[in-house]
């Protein structure tokens, strides 16, 4: 069993039975942000609290990335093995719209307003064998 590590600390709960994205919510104005910030972009307040964001939402907009980005892109792919990937903003009720990669890259299967869930899956494997975990948005069947 390989070791699984999150792509960044503090982005989501990991390891966890039910992992969730971590946002911050301003206690002065109620605005949420992702990733969690130390101050509020809406009111400049610094009284913020970390909270788990909802795991389901609706797709606000999307695109498909058809060419392999330059560095700092680091997926373990080569130009030969690169697969186009979907990117979109998921509107999380009561929270924020979060940008993330989609598990689906077929434009015919993507539409604005569709329901999606946040999933946590291996993104790349490090030289030492560690699996790097990131978050993705997946269509709800």
């Amino acid at each position: 069993m390989s070791n699984q590590v999150p792509i960044a600390e503090g982005l989501f709960t990991w390891p966890a039975a039910n992992p969730a994205l971590l946002g911050s919510r301003c206690k002065s104005c109620g605005i949420a942000a992702f990733p969690a910030a130390k101050s509020c972009m809406a009111c400049s307040g610094q009284n913020v609290e970390i909270e788990e964001l909802p795991g389901r939402g609706t797709l606000w907009t999307w695109t498909v990335q058809r060419f392999m980005p330059k560095s700092p892109y680091n997926s373990g792919e080569t130009p030969e093995t690169f697969k186009p990937y979907g990117v979109g903003y998921l509107e999380l009720p009561g929270g924020v719209r979060v940008e993330g990669r989609l598990t689906e890259n077929d434009p015919a299967k993507l539409r604005i307003g569709m329901e999606m869930e946040v999933v946590f899956e291996p993104y790349r494997t490090e030289d030492n064998g560690d699996e790097v975990i990131s978050f993705f948005f997946k269509p709800v069947a």
Binding site: A8, A42, T61, W62, V98, P107
Partner: protein, 380 residues
Amino acid sequence: MDVAIVGIGIHPFGRTPSRSGLEQGAYAAREALKDAGAAWRDMQFAFGGSASAGSADALVNELGLTGIPFINVANGCATGGSSLISAYNAIKSGEYDIGLVAGFDKHERGAFNADPKSLGIGMWYGETGMMMTTQFFAMKIQKYMHDHGISADTLAKVAEKSFINGSKNPNAWRREPIAVEEIANSMMVNDPLTKFMFCSPSEGGVALILCRADMASKYTATPVYLKAATLKSRRYGSFEVFAPSQALQQVDGPTVDAARAAFEMAGVGPRDIDVMQLQDTEVGAEIMHMAENGFCEHGEQEQLIQSGATHIGGSMPVNTDGGCIANGEPIGASGLRQVYENVLQLRGQAGEHQVPNDPRLAYTHVYGAPGISAVTILQK
């Protein structure tokens, strides 16, 4: 004190392997000085910017060491606009009589690669492939098409016009018209945008000579007055490039804010404008910026573009020199290219790409990461 533009110079955009970015900037500066009939030693100050071709103030090595204050400006895609505003304020304040604004650049081929850390974003954002301006524009127009009924054919028609206008502009990079079908069927880059719908990083240089309006006649018979120059950054709730998250409640973006401020400053409205240069990083940007700058209602672009209104002979000519799509985007020079084009238009010197009916008011708009817009309004 009103401010006039009395000299303009440009180094052709595109690829010039024989000249460095700095040399292209110096070329443009000499052209602008010649146009104003002024000497470099007459310049009391300079503002300039370049994103990847070295320090703009190194221009003094080319132009001569005269001891003037030369301030480097770095503000992403709004670098040119920011230099211009700085020069405008320097003269308006009464501190200086005359000065130079310059912008030049020389970029590597291929899409810009941005560094998340420089914008205060975690490395994970770039590692997972989301630090891409092209994705932002694609997602913004995708949503806009859904909400306001813009068709894919209209996207292609915008690029078709850009290449037609570029073919009429001797300083443009792309000088061949491309058929609308070829644009629509070229390689998909970021759905719904194809290869020919995007601008590419390129090279070029532009320089302008600004002076007190009451001194303009000393340098030119055709002064063009800078009636407004504004710059705004994003407010909380606007949808911007490089945003790992955005607010549920949307507010107007920096373009809307900068446009409003500029119209107020100039004391004119969108209907008074005769020719406009709007940021067209890709075709969707041009479409959305038409409405965000106040020139039409959201959704009205479908009919306006399909009917040819944005062509050189139309009722609201947009990007008459081919815009970023036909000129490419040398970051430091791009915003100043728009002003150069508008001065040509107002002087009636734009040749094949001249708009008819003696234009009096002209408008420029740039937009760039991480959510800034700059607008100018010129009047003859």
